[in-house]
Each structure stands twice: as C-alpha cells, then as structure tokens.
C-alpha cells in the first residue's frame, strides 16, 4: 500500500532539531528524519524509544562466555584430560582469559549483525534517498499524511516557517 508523505529539506542541524521537535508536539506523524551525521538530541526530538541493542550485546556476550567455559572444561577435564605440570584438570582461573576474549567476540559480532538486521542494511540494498545531498550536508524531515484532516498547505507553511529550503509531496511505499 502506498502512502503520501510531505518532505521538508533543511540545511542545518539546529533547524532540523527545532522542526522535528515542533512537528512531534503538533501531533504530526514523523515517518523518519534523514541526516548526514548523528545529530545530538534528534532521537529525543523524534520521540524514539531506547535502542534494544545493549540487551542483544549483553545476552550474546553471556552466551559466548558460558559456551566457552563449558567448552574449556569439557576439552580439558572431560574429553581428553592431559596432565600439564600437575595442574588440576579443571583449571578454572586459567580459563578466564579466553573466556573473556570469546565473550567480547560473541558480543561484538552479534551486536553488529543484530544492528544490520534491525536496520535492514545488507550488501547491495538500494538506498532510499530523498535527496542526493542527504548523505552530504542536507537534512530531511518526512511527515506522513496519515488522515483526511492533514492539511497539506498548513503543514507546508509550518515547514517553511521553520526554515525549510524546499517542501515536496511524494508517494511512497509504506513497507520499509
């Protein structure tokens, strides 16, 4: 299903912060904001929820560490125990360094993969660019015309009042 969106293009970070905050306060539906760099405070202005990535990182780090402790114990004390300098079969303190490394490896790689999944980034994906300069020096606010009460002219005036360089109306696929 397609939806109609109104796009405002801005040229500096103060403007995009102001307009996003104001749009959210007016109850307009913000589809997305596009920026060439991470603008401090824009997530709050958009009213985004906290990212769940730290949980992925924590749980997979824990999984990696647990797996590695078990693996070291199983190989060294159970599967083929070898006497090395009379050290105990289960040399738990000596297992700590590798357990730590594997924890970091699991947590790091899986968080990045989770990020790619959540953000739908993959090699060869066609970027959905609103403006050729949005990865260079332009900012874009995308508002959805979500109901009949959406007054295009009024919102366009609102965007221009907030220093929009350009306002466009477009039809877009809803599923992102």
């Amino acid at each position: 299903m397609n939806r109609r969106v109104l796009i405002g293009i801005f040229d500096n970070e103060d403007a995009i912060l102001d307009v996003t905050d104001a749009a959210r306060r007016r109850g307009l539906k913000i589809v997305d904001v596009f920026a060439p760099y991470a603008v401090h405070g824009l997530d709050r202005a958009m009213g985004l929820q906290r990212s769940k990535l730290p949980w992925v990182c924590f749980l997979l780090g824990l999984t990696g560490a647990a797996f590695k402790v078990w693996f070291e114990y199983w190989t060294t004390a159970s599967d083929w125990p070898i006497n090395v300098g009379g050290k105990p079969w289960n040399s738990l303190p000596a297992f700590v360094p590798i357990t730590f490394e594997v924890m970091v490896l699991f947590a790091g790689i899986s968080t990045v993969l989770a990020f790619f999944g959540m953000s739908r980034l993959w090699p060869g994906r066609k970027p959905m660019l609103l403006d050729a300069r949005v990865t260079n020096d332009r900012f874009a606010l995308v508002l959805e015309e979500d109901n009949a009460a959406f007054d295009v002219e009024e919102v366009e005036r609102f965007l221009r009042d907030h220093h929009a360089l350009r306002v466009e109306e477009r039809e877009q696929e809803a599923a992102r």
Partner: protein
C-alpha cells in the same frame, strides 16, 4: 536549541568548514590520480614488502636454522617484532574506543586512520608467531578444532593459547569497529560518485555494495549510535586484555627479568606509547601530503604529545620499578639480570631504549616543542626505535645469560631476520598507502558533527538548493 559557546574553546577544525566542504576536502585526494610522492612511497614500501616475502619464503623453505637463535636465546627477533607490532596497534583502539568513552571530541580527526593503522599493525604482528612456529603450514593447530588425533585439544592453560585467541579477537573486533564506522562515509562517497558516468564503474559498484544501502535515516542512526558506544565499550577492555595477555607470555615463565607482576600495566602503557608515536609519524606526513592541516591541527598534535608524555612517564616508572623490585627482592638471579641489562653486553640496547623512551620525551613538557611539527616528528621516530628496543632488551637480555653460566650465549640477528622485519614495515606502509587512496582517511560523518565546537555559531550551509 542554541548551545552556550565559550570563546575560550579552541575550534577542533580550523578554517570555518561547512559540512559540504568536509566531504569535498576528504574526497578530493581520493578521487584524483595519485601524486608522484605517493608513487615514490608506494614503490619503496612495496619493494620492502617483496624483500620480506623473499626472506620468509627462504626461511620456510630452508628451516629455522636461517635465524640467529640458539638453545639459550630461543626467542629474539620474531617475538620482538610481534610484540612491537601488536603494541603499535593499541593506539588505534585507544583513539577510537577509549577516547570515545572519555568524550574526547578531537579524536574524530584521527580515529579513522589510527584504526586502519591498528588493523595493518595486527596483520604484521600476526605473521611473526606464525613464522616462529617453525612449521607455519600447521599454524591452524593453534586453534581447537575437531581433529583425527583424538581429538587432541589445545592446552587452554597456556598463555600462548590465550594469545592466539586475544590477537584473533582483537583483529576481528577492530576490523568490525572500523567497518561500522566507515558505513556512513561509504554512503557519502557512493552518492558523490553517482551520476559521474552513464554505466556504474567498478568503484561505484563497490561503494554501493559496501555502504549496505545506507540512506541516513535517523531510525538507523539512532541504533548506530548505541552500537558504536557498545563496540567502544567492548574494545576498551579488549585492548587492555590483549597486551596483558602478551605480557603473560613472558610473566608466567620463571625467567628472571620476565617473571614480574608489573608486566601487564607496563606492557599496556608501553603499547599505547609506541602506538601514539606511530600515529604521530603517520599523521604528520598525511596532513602535509594530503593537505589536511585544517583537520589535523596543532591542537591534535599537542593532545597526542601529552598522551606520549603520560605514557612515557608510566614506562619510565616501570623501568625504575623493575630495578627496585630486583634490588628489594634479595634474589641474586633477579639482581644479576638487571645489572647485566644495564651494564652487560647488551647495555647499548638498554641505553638506546632509555634515551628514546624516557629522556627524549621529556622535551614534550614544553609547549613550544609540542607545537613544532619537525621536532615532534623526530621524537615520534625516536620513540618507535626506542620501543622496538624495549622489547628486544626484555627478551634477549633476560635470556642470554640464564641460571647456568655454561650455557651463556649471545645473539646476533641474521640477514634473513632483518629482512623479515623490513618486510613487515613494507607490508604496513603498503597497506596504509593503499588505504589513503581508496578510503576516506577522515571520518567525515564524525567530523561534521563537531564542526561547531569552538565556533561562535553552528555552521549554516549555503542556501542554494
């Protein structure tokens, strides 16, 4: 949302840049044909690398007898080079991860190339233990994998096994961190190249594939920021663990001169010290050759000099503490090793180390010195030399006169070993020079976000659409 700007803050980026200027400045050297200077550097580096390839091929074909090692000095050049290169890598992670957690915004100008340096240095480091195994074609035995010999597993109690995991994890996480940082910039270049020609060129296709369809959506940026913080949080203890484990390769042995609890902090500080030295060497050349003086300013050089001074002081303290521990332990073997280190046959190496790592950096207390690029460059080279000798001194002087005077011996590197070291420098600089040509050396996305620091107002872009 106007921020209070202090007129006292020095701008991070000189020359009142706009976001579009940053893109332009960073992309320009990438998109024009390489200069004569680049070709000269590349030819030299590549020749050195070929020399290294020849030396390694010869020693693998002939055997470990091509080295100057003997039964007393069983570790020397290879392990020195290994520790040296791993140490170089650590500054990249310090700048990209630790300084990120400390909110040091100046890092944005140097982090991309410092991280690249980390990757190349770890690649160089990885070669040496593999060669040193003597049968490098069996190097995969270092990893636990189901095999037909039992399966016989590796000894997880051994620091050498720990090292193997530490270095591989370090390389993988550094590479991932670096690539994640690159994605927005790859997209910037992709969009800049778009429309350049009717049919997409290979370069355009590669940038399109590797930028993963990045569109600058803030819903993605929002997760990206958290991801970056998480990776920085993981890389920080990782980098400390890596050199700690490298130091355990020595400290868990009962050799006087190695068997010391001070080793982990001593090695980590030394690693960062040598790494910052290498970052400065590379950055001072890069800013000049690629006209990046507005991005890597004297302020950046000054900040890195202060880090050098700090880590040099820690290293100096460690040198002193080692002697004090030997004296205070009352252990005659320990005392002998340190007397022999400073006054024995390798005293020259010891005093090169002390002069380069402790005495020369004292000049950095002076602001005038920190702001003179020529002197800083010379000091950074001296520190590289001094830190190489530190590892040589620790390894060779502790081994060459051990408990039994009848087995005392000396060590002299062969031409094969010296060529391998030269080859590792060749590999490092070849990789770095290629990196400077094909990827943005400055993290554009991060620099754009700090342009306003120390400026009276945030930069407003030109209003043409």
């Amino acid at each position: 949302m106007a921020e209070v700007c202090s007129p006292l803050r020095i701008p991070l980026i000189a020359g009142h840049k706009k976001a579009a200027t940053v893109t332009e400045d960073v992309c320009r050297p990438m998109l024009r044909p390489p200069s004569g200077l680049w070709w000269a550097g590349f030819t030299l580096a590549f020749s050195l690398m070929l020399l290294g390839v020849a030396a390694v091929s010869y020693q693998i074909a002939t055997g470990v007898g091509t080295w100057g090692l003997n039964t007393t000095v069983g570790w020397a050049f290879d392990i020195t080079n290994f520790v040296f290169w791993v140490g170089i890598g650590h500054a990249g992670t310090l700048i990209s991860a630790i300084l990120f957690l400390f909110r040091q915004k100046w890092r944005t100008s140097v982090n991309r190339s410092a991280e690249a340096m980390t990757l190349f240095a770890v690649m160089c480091a990885g070669i040496f233990p593999v060669i040193h195994t003597g049968r490098p074609w069996l190097a995969y035995w270092l990893f636990p994998y189901p095999n037909f010999r039992g399966p016989l597993w590796i000894n997880f109690r051994s620091p050498l096994a720990w090292d193997c995991f530490a270095i591989s994890t370090y390389f993988l996480i550094s590479a991932t961190f670096w690539y994640v940082g690159l994605i927005p910039d790859l997209a910037t270049i992709r969009d800049r190249l778009a429309g350049e020609s009717a049919r997409p060129t290979l370069r355009q296709r590669l940038f399109a594939v590797f930028s993963l369809g990045w569109s600058g959506s803030y819903r993605v940026w929002h997760h990206y920021e958290v991801l970056y913080l998480l990776l920085a949080g993981l890389a920080t203890p990782l980098v400390i663990s890596v050199h700690t484990i490298v130091s355990w390769d020595f400290a868990t042995a009962v050799i006087p001169g190695w068997h010391a609890t001070i080793f982990p902090p001593y090695f980590v500080a030394g690693a960062i010290f040598s790494g910052i030295g290498m970052v400065l060497t590379l950055m001072i050349v890069a800013r000049k050759v690629m006209n990046l003086e507005d991005y890597i300013t004297l302020r950046h050089v000054d900040a890195m000099c202060k880090l050098l001074l700090l880590t040099s002081s820690i290293v100096a303290l460690a040198y002193g503490t080692e002697f004090f521990t030997a004296f205070y332990s009352g252990n005659p073997y320990e005392q002998f090793v340190f007397r022999n280190r400073a006054l024995g046959p390798f005293a020259w190496a010891y005093w090169i180390m002390v002069s380069c790592n402790v005495l020369a950096p004292q000049l950095l207390w002076f602001r005038g010195v920190r702001r003179r690029i020529g002197i800083v460059f010379a000091l950074s080279l001296l520190i590289n030399v001094g830190m190489w000798f530190e590892r040589f001194v620790i390894i060779v002087t502790s081994l060459h006169r051990d408990f039994l005077p009848s087995s005392w011996a000396s060590y002299r590197p062969t031409i094969v070993e010296v060529s391998t070291l030269a080859g590792s420098f060749g590999l490092f600089f070849t990789c770095f020079l290629i990196f400077c040509r094909i990827l943005p050396v400055i993290a554009m996305g991060e620099v754009k976000a700090v342009l306003h620091v120390g400026q009276a107002s945030r930069p407003v872009q030109e209003t043409t659409v």
